[in-house]
């Protein structure tokens, strides 16, 4: 039923776009993320949010420039870097100038290299990479390039904010770190070890391990190790089915403390945790949903829920990405010259409807923004996730997190 309405909405949308194409251009945005496989739900929900943000924030308000509209085109990369490069080529061949991707830093690393190479060789068909969720710090450090912009806080900035909250809790003396075995999981572990050590040297890291990504059937053995280590708190960067499996196993098998996470909300996960996760799961995120950041944000969220009754705005940075891209295109006066658009994005200050200011740091193209640490609960929830009655409520806010965080980026700008 849901899919039929969706199909109707999409075809109506394409009719509208088709009808308006006669007098205005369509600016296509390639969404390269998993739409099948174990992480399909994360990718699909991201795509919905992009489509909605483009429609609600840009197209319905008359578009950009002289009525140009945004169109988000989904490309399924099955979370594979190799497949992503193929999809990137398909997107470029279709004349697409803007690529958004976020799920898996492994994929983002492959894309940013490929795009850098492509742009150097093909000055006539350059593309911009708007990374909305891949948070491996290397992307805005050693591997930074002019074409890559990150709208999510990187793993170091998030961990800085998270560890601020953890060290403030006197009851936490032992911490267990666990994550997925790839660049992002390793970055989380490295940052957690370093920052906990700097901020409170009496905190002991009693466990630090990585598990294969997307392959673990049952997390029980890992949960046993967490419990028997005597940890007071767990830190994990897991996402998708890995987050749910790990979280459920840890709680079911007798762990009592808080679990600090990056991605344990929305996409069915909040509903699947339900009562078991209450007051246990803590989550770092940008943009405030409970309490909602502004009246505009409230209206946006309500419109989204009306269109996708089963969906959530669990990645408010997607709306920031679309908003800032539209602003940059307006400022550049063109959508075709991506160098001009990128230059407009550099150093841009933008007022987010989710509350707080956004600043695209020009040195490394890392967006600086407020970070919130919230708790999974069913109390004081204005906007729940998954229609479950449970949502994330802010407990603490770190303003302009990581404003002065160091970067090793040495960016070469095009002539």
């Amino acid at each position: 039923m849901k899919s039929i309405t969706k199909l109707g909405a999409v075809s109506a949308l394409s009719l509208v776009i088709g009808a308006s194409a006669s007098f205005a251009e369509t600016i296509k945005i390639a969404f390269i993320d998993p739409l099948s496989g174990p992480f399909a739900s994360t990718g699909t929900n991201g795509l919905h949010q992009f489509e909605f943000a483009a429609e609600h924030m840009v197209n319905e308000k008359g578009g950009v420039l002289d009525g140009d509209t945004f169109e988000v085109v989904g490309f399924d990369n099955q979370t594979s870097p190799k497949e992503s490069l193929i999809q990137l080529q398909v997107a470029i061949d279709q004349g697409i100038r803007y690529v958004v991707q976020g799920n898996s830093s492994g994929v983002a690393n492959a894309l940013t290299e490929a795009i850098d190479k492509h742009n150097r060789r093909n000055p006539d068909s350059r593309v911009l990479f708007l990374n909305y969720a891949a948070v491996d710090p290397a992307l805005t450090n050693d591997k930074c390039n002019f074409w890559h912009f990150r709208f999510d806080a990187n793993a170091d900035i998030k961990m800085d904010a998270l560890t601020d909250v953890i060290v403030a809790d006197e009851n936490i003396k032992k911490v267990y770190i666990i994550g997925q075995d790839y660049s992002f999981g390793k970055a989380v572990s490295a940052a957690a070890n370093k920052m906990l050590g700097e901020k409170r040297d009496d905190i002991e890291v009693v466990g630090d391990e990585l598990h294969p990504i997307g392959k673990v059937k049952d997390f029980t053995p890992y949960a046993r190790k967490v419990v028997s280590s005597g940890a007071d708190a767990v830190i994990t960067g897991n996402w998708g089915a890995d987050m749910l499996g790990l979280g459920k196993a840890i709680i079911d098998n007798g762990f009592e403390g808080p679990i600090y996470t990056y991605y344990a909300a929305g996409s069915g996960m909040t509903a699947a945790f339900g009562e078991t996760g209450k007051d246990r799961i803590r989550l770092i995120s940008q943009g405030s949903i409970n309490p909602i950041g502004s009246e505009e944000a409230r209206a946006t969220y309500e419109a989204f829920e009306a269109k996708y009754p089963e969906g959530n705005i669990d990645q408010s940075r997607i709306f920031n990405t679309i908003g800032m891209l539209a602003a940059a295109i307006e400022e550049a006066g063109t959508a075709d010259d991506v160098v001009a658009v990128a230059s407009a994005l550099e150093g841009m200050e933008y007022e987010s409807m989710w509350g707080g200011k956004l600043f695209m740091r020009p040195q490394d193209h890392q967006l600086i923004q407020d970070m919130h640490v919230g708790v999974h609960t069913d109390e004081n929830v204005d906007f729940d996730f998954d229609n479950s009655g449970f949502g994330v409520v802010n407990e603490s806010t770190i303003e302009m997190a990581g404003m002065d965080s160091p970067t090793t980026c040495e960016m070469k700008r095009p002539e």
Binding site: S41, D181, P221, R224, S228, N253, G254
Partner: protein
């Protein structure tokens, strides 16, 4: 040391769950010679049906009804699909079940979407049965153990001690003779296929709340089921049980203890190279058992195939 006991229990749960899946698969294979690639998809259907039923009628009705629906669907697949494809040989059969697996995944996504389903353990079992050194054993796990054991004993009893089992076993070796004695062999095949898929359904109903109910759940378990029946010996119920438990304990213990390859190599008398970072075997030296836990069953399968091609309990092909 308490952890060993806990891990034995955890491995038992994992193994028995795997057994419920592979029992159905191996039963179907021994009867019909069909490797059913869609077997794990019936497991997924079991979980989704049970979730949907539990919304209206509660968990226990789901446990009762969902496997029945899955079994009827399975029987239907045999009657109107496999039986027609069968005359063209084994390869079309394989392709048919492979296509069926993809179709079921798409259908599930179409009806339920791609998200995780909030399918929970029933309240009656949502407590900690007992704890060993701070590690609580959920009552649900005990329930899983007893359900799987009951199914195993039931199957064994029917196959070896009853008239139905006798006819089934006879139909396996001498279908024409059995038919000549007045038994309806196609009907027996349909029944076995239905029961086999219903077993997968039961596994889904029980595993859904613990391992998560999502469209990728069939994919995650799909290949390990085949590994299990190959290790156990195609067609052997005992083999399926032993192989399932072996895999359950093997992966659980590999994940639970961080055994480093370096320690093993040192243990057998190979010294760690001085400059490890520039050594070509660096990755080999730094590998730990949790990292390779999930490929250990595949390694075991290859070893078994080399040493004993028919599997642990498999009968030699005549």
């Amino acid at each position: 040391m308490d952890l060993i006991l806990v891990n034995i229990i955890d491995g038992l749960v994992t193994g028995l769950l795997l057994f419920m899946l592979s029992a159905g698969l191996t039963l179907i294979f021994s009867m019909m010679g069909v490797l059913n690639f869609a077997h794990a998809s019936f497991y997924m259907l079991g979980a989704y049906f049970a979730y949907q039923i539990s919304l209206a009628l509660g968990f226990w009705m789901g446990l009762l009804i969902a496997p029945l629906i899955v079994g009827v669907l399975g029987a239907g697949v045999e009657r109107y699909g496999l039986r027609r494809v069968h005359q063209y040989g084994h390869v079309p059969e394989l392709i048919f079940t492979f296509g069926l697996a993809l179709l079921i995944e798409e259908l599930v996504q179409f009806i339920w979407g791609k998200n995780q389903m909030p399918y929970f353990v029933p309240d009656a079992l949502n407590f900690s049965a007992f704890a060993i050194a701070g590690n609580s054993i959920p009552a649900y796990k005990i329930f899983m153990i007893f359900t799987s054991l009951a199914i195993f004993i039931g199957l064994l009893f029917i196959l070896t001690r009853t008239r139905v089992g006798m006819i089934i076993q006879a139909a396996l070796s001498y279908p024409r003779t059995v038919e000549a004695l007045g038994h309806n062999v196609p009907l027996i095949f349909m029944g076995v296929f239905g029961v086999g898929t219903a077993l997968a359904g039961v596994a889904g109903v029980i595993a859904g709340p613990v391992l998560g109910t999502f469209p990728g759940m069939a994919f995650v378990l799909g290949s390990i089921v085949f590994v299990t029946i190959v290790i156990g010996g195609l067609g052997s119920l005992w083999g399926a049980l032993v192989a399932s438990l072996l895999i359950g304990w093997l992966t659980t213990f590999a994940k639970a203890y961080n055994i480093a390859m370096e320690d093993i190599l040192n243990g057998i008398g190979i010294a760690t190279p001085e400059n490890l970072d520039s050594n070509v075997f660096r990755d080999l030296w730094s590998i730990t058992s949790p990292q390779i836990a999930d490929i250990l069953p595949y390694i075991l399968m290859v070893l078994i195939l080399i040493i004993r091609p028919s599997g642990l309990f498999g009968k030699r092909h005549s």
